[in-house]
């Protein structure tokens, strides 16, 4: 355990080096005889959930942490919050070891798990907020000020006194985030914060999270299966698969490194026959329409359109970037 990590990591909120975590799972044979056998002898299989992961998170960063199910995301987050002990590796969260100083660290981190609510279901959110103020031992006056501030920011004044079970999922999530921020944590772990929300609610939550990060400078580690979340919120993305980091860098770089494609859909007023230009691929075409994949490192959109207009009269044109999902799928596939 490094003693000076406090000083060394003033810039970094999280420092992870060579993290390894293995699990033993019980094996059971199928059928009735298998059930009976497992009564007496247990067979175990070893599973490596985290296989040498290293990364650092600067204070104030908003980082997307994504990967398929079973990739090791939750395990890593559990280790970061002190719930799970690693097998080996150096971990430093806000200058502390999560395993040794879990309770101390708890005062400085906030967790929102989309699937596991913290708010008391049958009571109004305000009651949970008050309870949290006691749990985190917040000073009464400070707490009131803080509560007012967060309530305004997340626009939950009107629903403070409504039992949580009567709130919509979006409202509930806003309250969850408020609850997790009451004690001014320096790091926020957001696990699937927009799960189950409709698109309007998702947008709202994303805006609020961005706002939060800007105003509070809170470091955010976000996991989500919705890549739009990542696109909107994170400048940096860590992709994890089979317990290993498969990509760690900016989103633009990701798009640039792995895929430089724009999808251009065109409707023509004259009949479309063919279009051969370097750096493009025709995905599909009909008599009066076509869809192109344009590789922007080979040909710029400007040039592409210029060339197209020279040959055909265009009725309508739509240009879209590669959805990050595709980018990520490609990476999962590659590694």
């Amino acid at each position: 355990m490094e003693k000076n990590s406090g000083g060394a990591s003033m810039e970094n909120a999280i420092e992870l080096k060579n993290l390894v975590k293995k699990f033993k799972t019980k094996q059971k044979e199928a059928g009735l005889s298998g059930s009976f056998k497992s009564l007496f002898k247990s067979k175990y299989k070893e599973l490596t959930a985290v296989d040498n992961i290293s990364f650092n998170l600067k204070r104030g960063e908003v980082v997307g942490f994504i990967g398929p199910n079973g990739a090791g995301k939750s395990t890593t987050i559990k280790i970061l919050s002190g719930i799970l002990f690693p097998d080996s590796g150096k971990i430093n969260v806000l200058g502390m070891s999560p395993q040794k100083d879990r309770k101390k660290l708890a005062y400085k981190i906030g967790c929102v798990f989309g699937q596991k609510p913290q708010l008391w279901y049958h009571l109004p959110a305000i009651d949970t907020f008050n309870l949290f103020s006691k749990i985190y031992e917040l000073d009464d006056k400070e707490y009131k000020k803080r509560l007012d501030y967060l309530v305004k920011m997340f626009e939950v004044e009107d629903i403070l006194n409504t039992p949580v079970r009567k709130l919509s999922l979006g409202q509930r999530m806003r309250c969850e985030i408020v609850a997790s921020m009451l004690h001014k944590p320096e790091i926020l772990f957001l696990d699937e914060p927009t799960i189950g929300l409709d698109i309007v609610a998702k947008q709202k939550i994303r805006e609020l999270i961005l706002d939060l990060n800007k105003k509070e400078k809170v470091t955010i580690l976000l996991t989500s299966h919705d890549t739009q979340d990542i696109e909107h919120l994170c400048e940096r993305i860590i992709i994890i698969n089979h317990g290993r980091v498969v990509y760690d860098g900016s989103i633009e770089k990701l798009q640039k490194d792995y895929l430089n494609t724009k999808i251009v859909s065109v409707k023509f007023s004259s009949e479309f026959k063919e279009f051969n230009v370097e750096g493009i691929k025709i995905i599909s075409s009909n008599k009066y329409s076509a869809e192109f994949e344009v590789y922007t490192d080979k040909i710029s959109i400007q040039k592409f359109i210029d060339s197209l207009i020279k040959k055909y009269a265009i009725l309508d044109i739509t240009i879209s970037g590669t959805p990050i999902e595709e980018v990520i799928t490609k990476i999962y596939g590659e590694k």
Partner: protein
């Protein structure tokens, strides 16, 4: 019918999966039996027979009543859950197969539990008080009344569970029902221990037919009594089936009205 057998089989396998608990559960019933042999020894204080029961008879009696009652069933929880979630609405058109499903599930669970508890407990009871005089030929008949008792208990519980259409939580009612079984149902003590008026009342109520009657037949069989008991068991079962269906229909109607 085969479908219900398969359901029974899967439940059996499910039970095996929880290996550790399975043994511990039986273990605690042994403890309770042990407690009671002490209580009865202290209560009898040297007397041979009280109200027609020797200590040995009363312990074998209790073994059977305990086996029947503690074999437990989750039917109330499950039906409650169905009603809360509204899932019961999907059973709208098929109350008979819904009930049939739960009946077979419950009986397979309870019969197995009852049998295992009885076997494990009988080792202890034999060790503590020895055996009693029983004619082997009466056993199948006693088993019949036990099965009828399980079925009767199921339908009484079902009626309670269906009350969930009106009251969110029926576990309180379940407690009362359990206490009634423990006391005037005859689980803890045979009805003979009660004062005359209570003994007479309890022995006509349906509860004693789910517990006391089969156990009494077990330790003191008489053909005449057997026929009486079986007949009344069947009668009570029919009554509760009808009540259950009535409550179910009324409850489903309510769900519809509320658009639940």
């Amino acid at each position: 019918m085969k479908k219900y057998f398969e359901i029974g089989k899967i439940n059996l396998m499910n039970n095996f999966a929880y290996s550790g608990e399975f043994f511990l559960k039986s273990g605690f019933i042994l403890v309770v039996l042990f407690i009671f042999v002490n209580i009865w020894k202290a209560a009898y204080a040297g007397k041979e027979i009280i109200d027609g029961f020797t200590i040995a008879m009363i312990m074998w009696y209790m073994l059977l009543t305990e086996s029947i009652v503690t074999s437990g069933s989750t039917v109330i929880k499950e039906v409650n859950a169905d009603i809360q979630s509204g899932g019961i609405a999907y059973q709208l058109n098929k109350p008979y197969s819904y009930i049939g499903y739960y009946l077979s599930k419950s009986i397979s669970y309870k019969a197995l539990g009852c049998l295992i508890t009885f076997i494990i407990g009988s080792v202890l009871v034999y060790f503590l008080v020895g055996k009693i005089d029983i004619d082997i030929l009466t056993i199948p008949l006693v088993i019949l009344t036990v099965i009828l008792a399980l079925i009767l208990d199921f339908f009484m519980l079902l009626c309670i569970a269906l009350v969930a259409f009106w009251f969110e939580d029926t576990t309180a009612l379940r407690w009362i029902y359990d206490k009634i079984l423990f006391t005037i149902g005859g689980m803890l003590v045979p009805l003979e221990i009660f004062p005359d008026w209570l003994e007479k009342t309890s022995s006509v109520l349906p509860f004693s037919f789910a517990v006391y009657q089969p156990a009494k037949l077990f330790v003191q069989f008489s053909m005449e009594r057997f026929v009486q008991v079986a007949a009344i068991q069947i009668a009570y079962i029919s009554i509760f089936v009808v009540i259950a269906i009535l409550i179910y229909k009324k409850g489903i109607g309510r769900v519809n009205v509320n658009g639940g």
